[in-house]
């Protein structure tokens, strides 16, 4: 057994026994010649691995902000009532264990939960009751689970659609036969393709760097760890067009000379595994994967799937690589690009699902076709996942340059007020910005739009985000680990209604410190929305702040501070004779 196989090994134990025992850890540690604590460190990093026995059915209820607004609390209560278990507790019931989890990529069908990774969507208390009853009766999960497919709500006119058009396996790849890797790379470069995970790094530049690398082995990794709350566009692409994504990876391999590819699939998307595996098999059968692909001598490439285990930070490319190596998903220091020093030290290309799909379409449709669509800087279309207070949540393929107003109209948003672009680590916009365009020149978007209407509490939104980052930080660097906790305390203050104008100024200052000093993107962007919201929704926060006395202090709430004492004394009084 290799270290790189650690996650799979742990999954084996988790699936077989419902938890990873002391014994299992000792066994694995011995095989890998490492100390037990090292294995425990890996196990405890991923929240789908358990150290104590769980029930036959592990229920993960999504606690993202979308879920919260769609009735998370009622569903949580319903699950607890029906199963008699408590969320986050072990050893209660041989049948059920309940846990909260961050976004599971079903934001268009919230509230949603995973039961042994089978999706259950649009939950109601009534539905929960039925599900639990069915499980108690021994019904098969496969038959009672929901269909997690997201509805494709909008496509551009046919001559402008890029992703969701007819797909035929292999026709793109045939073009590789008549072109050298350099020529293919030039096409990608000419189409100005940029990373669609949200960083928008020029893809051709990345691929060229790996191509030019003297690394003896090279790898291609497809980042399908779509953890940003509110995002589910990669899920939709893998569900509908897994072949296209794989072709993109093959193209990248053709250019760089990589022989092995990985799809790092988040465990929340296990329901897609079968589909992707089938596609891979078809590719192999058709000589589109394997050795001498398409008859091109020495063009060998194979793809494996790695299942994640529940860690948002693994969406960060260097953390993903660490995870793939069987380690804790801690972001590396930014000394090298992965194309210089990646998986096991070899040159590695890591790209988002959509980037690979787009690359394949560029080769298929040609750069001329692509260049007629979109804006000057952003070419082509963008797949968006839209959710929240809209009548039509789901997948939207839009031409770059569409205005926010048009989008809100398309998805039939009702009194939109607070719009979150690119998830919690992205940015928020207010009503005055609805004329802004989704494109690189104006409002760049990684793929998620969450719409919140006038009646949603902004404090609640921000509290949810901060709690999320607090838990999902990898914990390596001080500002991200401690800073997000500190910001969470501030939000609690806003909630309690004891926040002063000084507190708001401090949030801005502290947010800036966290942004400047954090080690990876997680920390650098975690305070973004919070800080931004203070300015963009100034009116709202002005109503939230409390008046201070002449010394700038809030009157100390003595009653609240002695509440614990009073009730304890009351409880411990001798009974009246």
């Amino acid at each position: 057994m290799n270290r790189t196989g650690l996650l799979n090994k742990l999954w084996e134990f988790q699936n077989k026994f419902g938890y990873i025992s002391e014994n299992a850890i000792a066994q694995i540690a011995q095989k890998l010649n490492v100390s037990k604590i090292e294995i425990e460190g890996v196990v405890s990093f991923y929240h789908f691995f358990h150290r104590r026995p769980t029930g036959k059915y592990i229920i993960y209820l999504n606690n993202s902000i979308i879920s919260e607004f769609k009735g998370f609390q009622q569903i949580k209560a319903a699950f607890e009532k029906e199963t008699g278990c408590t969320f986050g507790c072990y050893d209660e019931n041989p049948l059920f264990s309940l846990f909260e989890t961050s976004c599971i990529g079903l934001s268009d069908q919230e509230p949603a939960a995973l039961i042994n990774f089978f999706p259950f969507t649009n939950l109601t208390a009534e539905k929960v009751k039925t599900i639990i009853q069915q499980l108690k009766n021994g019904n098969s999960l496969r038959f009672i689970s929901s269909n997690p497919t997201s509805k494709i709500q909008y496509l551009p006119p046919e001559d402008k659609t890029i992703f969701y058009r007819k797909y035929e396996m292999g026709i793109t790849l045939k073009k590789l036969k008549n072109h050298t890797p350099d020529e293919i790379l030039n096409l990608i470069s000419a189409a100005n393709l940029e990373g669609r995970g949200g960083a928008f790094f020029p893809t051709a530049k990345k691929w060229k760097s790996s191509k030019d690398s003297v690394s003896t082995k090279k790898y291609i990794i497809c980042n399908a760890d779509e953890g940003e709350p509110g995002t589910f566009k990669d899920k939709s692409l893998l569900n509908n067009l897994s072949g296209l994504v794989i072709e993109g990876m093959i193209i990248a391999a053709y250019i760089s000379g990589a022989t092995t590819g990985f799809i790092y699939l988040r465990a929340e998307y296990l329901h897609l595994l079968e589909k992707i595996e089938n596609t891979l098999r078809e590719f192999q059968v058709n000589n589109l994967l394997g050795n001498d692909i398409l008859g091109i001598p020495k063009f060998n490439f194979n793809i494996q799937i790695q299942i994640g285990a529940g860690a948002y930070v693994c969406g960060e490319e260097s953390a993903l690589i660490e995870s793939l190596e069987g380690k804790r998903g801690e972001a590396r220091i930014k000394k090298y690009f992965p194309t210089e020093y990646g998986y096991l030290g070899y040159s590695t290309i890591v790209n988002n699902v959509e980037t690979f799909a787009m690359a394949a379409r560029i080769i298929e449709l040609g750069t001329h076709f692509i260049s007629t669509i979109g804006t000057k800087e952003s070419k082509g279309t963008k797949v968006l996942s839209i959710c929240g207070d809209v009548a039509k949540p789901g997948i939207y393929e839009i031409e770059w340059g569409m205005t926010m107003k048009e989008i809100l109209h398309l998805c039939q948003a009702t009194s939109p007020h607070f719009i979150q672009i690119s998830g919690p680590s992205g940015i928020c916009i207010n009503e005055t910005e609805f004329d802004r365009k989704i494109c690189k020149e104006d409002l760049i978007c990684g793929g998620s739009i969450m719409v919140f209407n006038n009646f949603r509490s902004i404090t609640k939104i921000l509290e949810n985000y901060t709690a999320f980052f607090k838990e999902e930080s990898c914990g390596v660097c001080t500002p991200c680990r401690a800073g997000n906790q500190i910001l969470h305390e501030k939000i609690k203050k806003i909630k309690k209604g004891i926040c002063t104008i000084e507190d708001l100024a401090e949030i801005k200052e502290w947010g800036k410190i966290i942004k400047l000093t954090s080690r990876c993107g997680l920390g650098q962007f975690s305070a973004n929305t919070l800080v931004m919201a203070l300015d963009k929704f100034e009116g709202y926060f002005n109503q939230k702040i409390i008046k201070t006395n002449e010394n700038l202090n809030v009157e100390f709430d003595m009653e609240a501070a002695v509440y614990n004492y009073d009730s304890l004394i009351k409880d411990t009084q001798p009974p009246n004779p």
Partner: protein, 420 residues
């Protein structure tokens, strides 16, 4: 050897190409503070204290290798404050009770607190309950003090190459845990090494730390001439009259008052220019005059403390928190990591001396009520200045007072500026 020429804060520097910036800066006489960087360890980049600007982008200095033409900023006001903020974050994230720490005086993190002039933290203390693990054979790991720098993880291994320390959990629950089995293989020397590379007092060798002071308090040895700079303080209006001083001890031990009296005969000089009003020193119980300055020892742990503090705010122009307890709760705040109920039950119902089946927690309407936690004074009223120390040195206290009241020049010798 190839050398590179680069600029630090506009000054041209040279060093071996590819050298770690921390070392390169040191060779050129520029000190970049850091806690995780350690000799040969490949940059860990965990503590972020060494944040600098490289070509106007913020990076951790320890991850930079110097090359020709680099423009590096180290000591701009913004960066100095950022660095200070990160150390403050460490202080509030853990539970750093310097006065009761074995490593106090020998602790690089504490020393950086002095270097960056931290008097109080801008962030609220989080007071999270953390364990002290005494199960290992040779060492004790105190999670209250760990800053997760990872030095021990990378540096301390058994002879056959096994890790002894490793991070577990993630997010705010991340901590550095220990492998008991491997730890038992440590030699005495290795254990001592682990203790010494820890930049705080999180790793201690059993039997070493108390038998005799294990550190020779290396940060005390710094030359006397070096003085601490004082942040701008609100000055008091000048008058020719005698200034009036009030003092009190809230949730404190009167140690700070003892320290005030440590000025010895100097107090006679003080009486020439000041008079005491409400103070334990004069035993005046109630304010009879409006005071120029109030010195508060101790934080607020009960309702009476709050009332007294409010009264002081009302009756004093300038209010100064004296000592650790007043600044952030100090030792009494050790209870802040537990619920009040647990504390009171432990003291009155389940303690070794309580009667069997005791059910009553002593209370009376004349006894002040205990607050849910110990509060720092600046959480209750506005505090104009903070004097750290447990207790602060007598000269420190009176220097500040004289500076505020008479605009006398403030200087405090470096070794007198302490958290313990």
């Amino acid at each position: 050897m190839k050398t590179s020429s680069f600029k630090i804060d506009g000054r041209v520097c040279t060093a071996e190409t590819g050298l770690n910036l921390i070392e390169a800066a040191k060779q050129n006489g520029v000190f970049i503070p850091t806690l995780c960087h350690f000799k040969h360890l490949d940059p860990l980049g965990t503590c972020r204290v060494c944040t600098v600007k490289l070509n106007s982008r913020d990076v951790a200095g320890c991850t930079v290798r110097v090359a020709d033409g680099m423009e590096i900023e180290v000591n701009t006001p913004e960066l100095l404050d950022t660095r200070k903020a990160i150390i403050e974050m460490m202080f509030v994230e853990g539970n750093h009770f310097c006065p009761s720490c074995e490593k106090s005086g020998d602790c690089p993190m504490q020393n950086l607190g002095y270097e960056t002039g931290i008097k109080f933290t801008r962030f609220p203390h989080l007071f999270i309950d953390r364990i002290t693990d005494a199960r290992p054979e040779r060492i004790v790991v105190n999670q209250n003090r760990c800053i997760k720098c990872k030095r021990c993880i990378e540096e301390v291994k058994t002879f056959d190459g096994y890790n002894i320390f490793y991070s577990i959990n993630k997010g705010n629950k991340t901590m550095v845990s220990i492998d008991y089995e491997q730890e038992a293989k440590l030699s005495e020397l290795q254990a001592a090494h682990a203790m010494h590379i820890c930049p705080t007092g999180a790793i201690l060798v059993k039997g070493k730390s108390f038998s005799k002071p294990f550190g020779d308090r290396k940060f005390d040895a710094i030359i006397e001439e070096k003085t601490m700079s004082l942040n701008p303080v609100k000055k008091h209006r000048t008058t020719t009259k005698k200034k009036i001083v009030a003092t009190t001890s809230l949730a404190g031990c009167f140690g700070c008052h003892m320290s005030m009296l440590d000025v010895d005969l100097g107090i006679l000089d003080l009486f020439e220019v000041i008079e005491f009003n409400k103070s334990p020193i004069t035993d005046i119980k109630n304010f009879s005059k409006h005071c120029d300055i109030g010195l508060i020892e101790g934080g607020c742990c009960n309702t009476h403390n709050i009332e007294v503090l409010r009264e002081f705010r009302k009756n004093c122009d300038i209010l100064v928190s004296v000592g650790e307890c007043a600044i952030w709760g100090g030792l009494p705040a050790m209870r802040n990591t537990f619920p009040l109920e647990a504390c009171l039950k432990e003291s009155y119902l389940d303690s070794m001396t309580s009667e069997e089946n005791e059910t009553i927690i002593p209370n009376h309407e004349d006894i002040p009520k205990i607050l849910n936690k110990v509060y720092a004074n600046h959480e209750i009223v506005k505090i104009d200045h903070h004097i750290p120390g447990c207790p602060p040195d007598s000269s420190h206290i009176w220097n500040v007072v004289k500076n505020i009241l008479f605009q006398e020049e403030y200087s405090i010798a470096y070794p007198k500026y302490k958290y313990d």
